[in-house]
């Protein structure tokens, strides 16, 4: 049975349609640190990941465990303040769950708690990041259904992870992530994008007729791998070239 998705709210649609050029001045006073945890830039690409290994994760997600994706809870949670849907067609598999820092504090923060990936998928991800497993605060695979969307939001946590978050496409697809005040992220397959998702409002849209699957995660702020830090220092000057 095909489920028809609710179209984006007016706020979300206007965000997708808007030209952000007049807001570029907001980027003038960003802190430029020498470590992902202290730097306020929006997105820094990390290059050179194994495309074959990425494809193995993608194919496995697409075929074997395509039924294991669960609805992201923020999509179904409505509060007194938000009674419109905040996203549509957004599902996830949690590979590594974040520590239960927030459990019980507030129902809106009480999600993403349990890893639910099968052993083979976990093993594929471990092989992809052979030495980094203990450095991940969390790791997830997100799927966006055709015509799916996520409204403009920022991801607020107890700690400010800045560029310790990352976003990584698992297959080739057109632009999907729009960030205020830069625009659409012109991503490339095989790159990992360190993404400051706390500072920068962002929204996601899939206007194609195929599922989009991405890998996202966070590094512990003091355990960011040395290879990432080195590339970050080289590539951070490119952060203004990533947009269209």
């Amino acid at each position: 049975m095909v489920t028809r998705l609710i179209p984006p709210t007016a706020f979300t649609q206007q965000f997708f349609d808007m030209d952000f050029e007049s807001y570029q001045y907001l980027l003038d006073d960003l802190i430029d640190g020498d470590h992902p945890a202290t730097c306020d830039l929006p997105v820094v690409p990390i290059e050179g990941f194994d495309l074959d290994a990425l494809d193995r994760i993608y194919q496995y997600c697409r075929s074997v465990c395509s039924g294991d994706f669960k609805t992201v809870k923020s999509q179904i949670m409505y509060s007194d303040w938000c009674f419109q849907p905040r996203s549509q067609g957004w599902t996830e598999i949690v590979i590594k769950a974040q520590p239960m820092l927030m459990k019980g504090r507030d129902s809106n923060l009480d999600y993403n708690l349990e890893a639910d990936a099968d052993n083979h998928l976990v093993e594929l991800c471990r092989q992809f990041f052979p030495d980094w497993w203990d450095r991940f605060f969390c790791l997830k695979i997100l799927k966006m259904a055709p015509d799916g969307w996520v409204n403009p939001h920022r991801d607020i946590y107890v700690d400010n992870f800045r560029l310790c978050n990352f976003w990584m496409p698992l297959h080739d697809f057109p632009t999907t992530l729009k960030v205020f005040p830069m625009g659409w992220l012109a991503h490339r397959l095989g790159n990992m994008y360190l993404f400051n998702q706390r500072r920068f409002p962002h929204a996601v849209k899939n206007s194609e007729q195929e599922d989009r699957i991405v890998l996202i995660g966070k590094f512990y702020q003091d355990l960011v791998p040395q290879q990432i830090v080195e590339q970050f220092l080289i590539n951070k000057k490119k952060h203004l070239q990533q947009w269209q």
């Binding site: 709210t9 938000c82 409002p201």
Partner: protein
């Protein structure tokens, strides 16, 4: 022209207080007809259109007419503002910046003070109107941009 939709939850009997809506200080008279009818339900959506204002940056809702005769052991009257949409963009959590300035009768104030309650003159957020008074919410125009910049500057 701008559209403003008020999403309200009304808790009151047939004999009741009243509401008055204002935008940028101008009272919206067309709503008073809706509000003077007996067709209140618990949840109401009040849709308005404003054609004579270029920008909108202040919305007020006045709650008035609640008195000792209306409040009994069995019934109280209050209004909960669930949401406000401006040109189809919902305010949602931004309403946390709204305020409610109450106008409580003096003998109620005196009674509550003797019971040891603390009475603030302004409550924030002001979305729960349980006393006579005025809800007030201020923002910058256009609202979509205000909302985006507010998302940006929460830190």
């Amino acid at each position: 022209m701008h559209r403003i939709d008020f999403y309200l939850e009304l808790h009151w009997a047939k004999q009741r207080p009243a509401l008055e809506f204002a935008v940028n200080g101008h009272v919206l008279e067309q709503n008073m007809k809706i509000l003077s009818s007996d067709q209140y339900e618990e949840k109401a959506v009040i849709k308005t259109q404003i054609s004579d204002l270029e920008s909108i940056n202040l919305i007020n809702i006045r709650f008035y007419g609640k008195n000792d005769q209306l409040v009994t052991e069995q019934s109280d009257h209050w209004v909960h503002i669930k949401n406000i949409a401006i040109d189809d963009v919902f305010a949602d959590a931004m309403l946390i910046n709204s305020t409610f300035q109450h106008q409580m009768p003096e003998h109620w104030v005196a009674e509550m003070l003797t019971q040891g309650h603390r009475i603030d003159s302004v409550y924030k957020p002001g979305t729960s109107m349980r006393l006579n008074g005025c809800f007030s919410w201020q923002f910058n125009h256009p609202f979509i941009q205000h909302k985006l910049l507010d998302l940006w500057s929460l830190d």
